[in-house]
């Protein structure tokens, strides 16, 4: 027998698959199979999400601890409500991996858990692009999850990427520009923008187990949205107005609120607050590949919401501006541009800080973080380098002063969308969208994480979250 074993040891070409090495979760708790009964786990319609159900011999506030084969990290759901039976979803798992799980609860100061259960996740769509993690400084990055749209020519997905740049969730959504987790953590929100100002657009609420999405719809909603604390969705919208005795029709932007009960209303229309410069000609709006007689005037592309001040912030490319809209009144509070003729703030900078801005975030009440695509064509660079501006707002002086300026080491051109988000006190996630790149930069503006997509694939908008629960 020993000889045979030795021979087998040196005969390698066609080894059978090694038995699974499952993580040891025993140390996490005391096994108590009498407490937890009927523990089951199933793969959901999103194959990387597992649904775990259990019954307990007494009501307990239980959670599920779980880990992939050979994974260093043991994950856990939050404690559920006290109950004798419950179910929960396991998130953050990779495709096609064996997973070990236990249901656990603390009783009289002792962690008690079910017997281990082993399940294998399924595969995600094979046409999701491969990701290439170019930089991964785990000591300096803030680890979390990227809920983000992935855009290919033939398909689009709402996805979640883990801190290592690997897909852990995906759901196909036609035409989406943005994917973001709902505030209550139970669903992915994604948009299906209207194709023109007079057609309907949708906001999808997709359960994380891949169940049937619910829809909120409104005419002319487009490009970007944000969820409010009560579940209302505020989306950018379009409106068309006639000028010059009806000889010109201009496309402007609105803010449309879509409430959970299915009703919607326009709460802000830029035409009501800014008079278009009719001495200028604007590019024709293209619908379905065909130019129309409607001129693309304001071209607002992003919306953000600040809960503390109950205000919207949008970025307008028509005059390279950031606009603040008071939600309670629907009034335009102020406009920030580099141009003293149009700005309500004095921009104290020798550089142009706002060039085709495409995202804005209010940080610490008095700082704006702005993603700028840079100005394309018409005397500017054909392939400008996108950059992020950080601007301090001094309300007393009425002045905006640059605090920071970040651009990639190598020039990155972003002709489509673009986004910057401060994720903790110092670190910022920059989504270079159409360049297929997401980076995280630290306080010294060093890149501590860089995820790249290959040629032909891009990111849409999204949001970074620290936890999936």
């Amino acid at each position: 027998m020993s000889l045979l074993l030795a021979l087998a040891a040196c005969t390698q070409p066609n080894a059978t698959p090694a038995p699974l090495t499952l993580p040891d979760l025993d140390g996490a708790c005391v096994s108590d199979p009498e407490l937890f009964t009927d523990v089951t786990a199933e793969v959901t319609a999103v194959p990387t999400v597992l649904r775990v159900r259990w019954a307990a011999s007494e009501p307990v506030a239980a959670r599920v601890i779980y880990a992939e084969d050979d994974a260093a990290a043991v994950l856990s759901t939050p404690d559920g409500a006290t109950s004798a039976e419950a179910e929960t979803l396991l998130l953050g798992l990779h495709p096609d991996r064996p997973v070990t799980l236990r249901v656990a609860a603390e009783i009289d100061g002792v962690q008690r858990c079910s017997d281990a259960l082993q399940v294998r996740t399924g595969a995600l769509p094979s046409d999701l692009p491969a990701t290439n993690v170019v930089v991964d400084d785990t000591e300096r990055e803030v680890r979390g999850w990227h809920a983000v749209a992935v855009i290919k020519e033939q398909a689009r997905y709402a996805t979640i990427l883990d801190a290592d740049g690997q897909f852990v969730w995906a759901y196909p959504v036609r035409d989406l520009f943005r994917a973001t987790l709902s505030r209550d953590g139970t669903a992915m929100l994604a948009n299906g923008p209207a194709q023109s100002w007079d057609t309907s657009g949708d906001i999808y609420r997709i359960p994380l187990d891949g169940g049937e999405p619910t829809l909120l719809s409104a005419t002319g909603i487009h490009t970007d949205f944000v969820e409010l604390p009560d579940g209302t969705i505020a989306s950018l919208g379009w409106s068309v107005r006639e000028f010059a005795d009806g000889t010109r029709r201009l496309l402007g932007d609105t803010i449309v609120e879509l409430r959970p009960d299915g009703t919607s209303s326009t709460v802000f229309d830029l035409f009501d607050h800014v008079t278009p410069d009719l001495s200028a000609e604007y590019d024709p709006v293209v619908v379905g590949g065909n130019a129309t007689d409607v001129e693309d005037w304001s071209h607002v592309n992003s919306i953000a919401y600040d809960e503390a001040s109950d205000a919207y912030f949008v970025t307008g490319t028509y005059n390279h501006s950031v606009l603040r809209v008071d939600r309670a009144t629907g009034n335009l509070s102020w406009t920030l541009t580099d141009d003293p003729l149009t700005s309500d703030w004095e921009m104290r900078s020798s550089e142009r800080e706002l060039q085709m801005p495409h995202s804005v975030q209010l940080v610490d009440d008095d700082t704006l973080l702005v993603f700028n695509r840079g100005e394309f064509g018409d005397g500017a660079s054909p392939t400008p380098c996108a950059f992020v501006s950080e601007l301090d707002l001094d309300a007393t002086a009425g002045a905006a002063t640059p605090r920071g300026h970040y651009s990639s080491d190598a020039c990155v051109t972003v002709p489509f969308l673009g986004q910057a988000r401060r994720i903790d006190r110092h670190n910022t996630v920059v989504n270079w969208t159409s360049a297929g790149r997401i980076t995280q930069v630290d306080r010294w503006e060093d890149t501590v994480l860089q995820i790249d997509l290959g040629l032909g694939t891009a990111f849409g908008s999204g949001e970074w979250v620290e936890s999936l629960y």
């Binding site: 000889l3 080894a15 096609d96 999701l128 491969a130 990701t131 392939t383 997509l453 032909g456």
Partner: protein, 306 residues
Amino acid sequence: MTALLLGLLACIAAPPPVLPCDDCALTDANNFAWSSTLDAPAWHLASGADATIAWDTLDRDFYGDPFDPAQDVGRVALVALPGLTPEDVADALAHDDLAQADVGLFVFCAPGGATTCRLSDFELFGNGMAVETYFVAGTGTWLLALLTPEDTIGAVAFLIPDAASTTTSVALTPDDSTLALDVDFRSLAPLAVRADEAFHVDWSGLTHDGLGNDLSLGTLDRLVVGRFDAPLSEVETRAHALTESADALWTLDVTGSEAELASLTGETPFTGIDGDATWLLALYCSSCLNPAPRFATVLVTAEDPT
């Protein structure tokens, strides 16, 4: 201990017998190795001026295969790569590691059966490219790729807007662009299976593709087994078109990282391999830009030890 020593000596004294597998775990050692060299012309064109690109005499693609200039071009891609030289782009294409972030702009022309496109014909989502604004000196290398109706690349050229140039026409001709493949099926560890029996394969242990790049297992979506009535050395020369040159072919759409080969479909049921022909097993990623298989190995027959 004695038996163990004897066993080890047996390893040294003679090659180990190759045992057939039933549940076959594919490893990187089983994978073929390949590299490629892209050679394409660089055309310096007048900066900011419209230009005509013609391929009417292009009767061979960059592999040297027959090519119909009217029927085999579904559309033409033009991609600005601001920070790269033609050599950089050729190298990145050959190594399959061109990143989207390298791209400044990209536009397409749909010739609709014609064999020319003008720069001013290129557009994206209905937005035309203003040549005088965008195709100007200082914007680096523009990759021009003729794409087949299946969206694979048939030929490429590099365009460079140059303030010193007055050229406004480009003529793509056979042999201008070539993609030379160097494929090695003979250095790999063949996968030994029993003759005339289907088997199970598991590729969860693969980490790299045949180019040596990291392999994303989730992108593999098609498994192919081919029989070739030609020696391996000849099959290597047709590596860019393995499926087309196989004498018999069985395919299976796959998800995950394992498959039962009894599920393969072809003109006849797949009942295993024989020792009379050259057999290859390959895994493809149909959504990848590069059409080469990510994994390919040679199948050989072996017998159980008696």
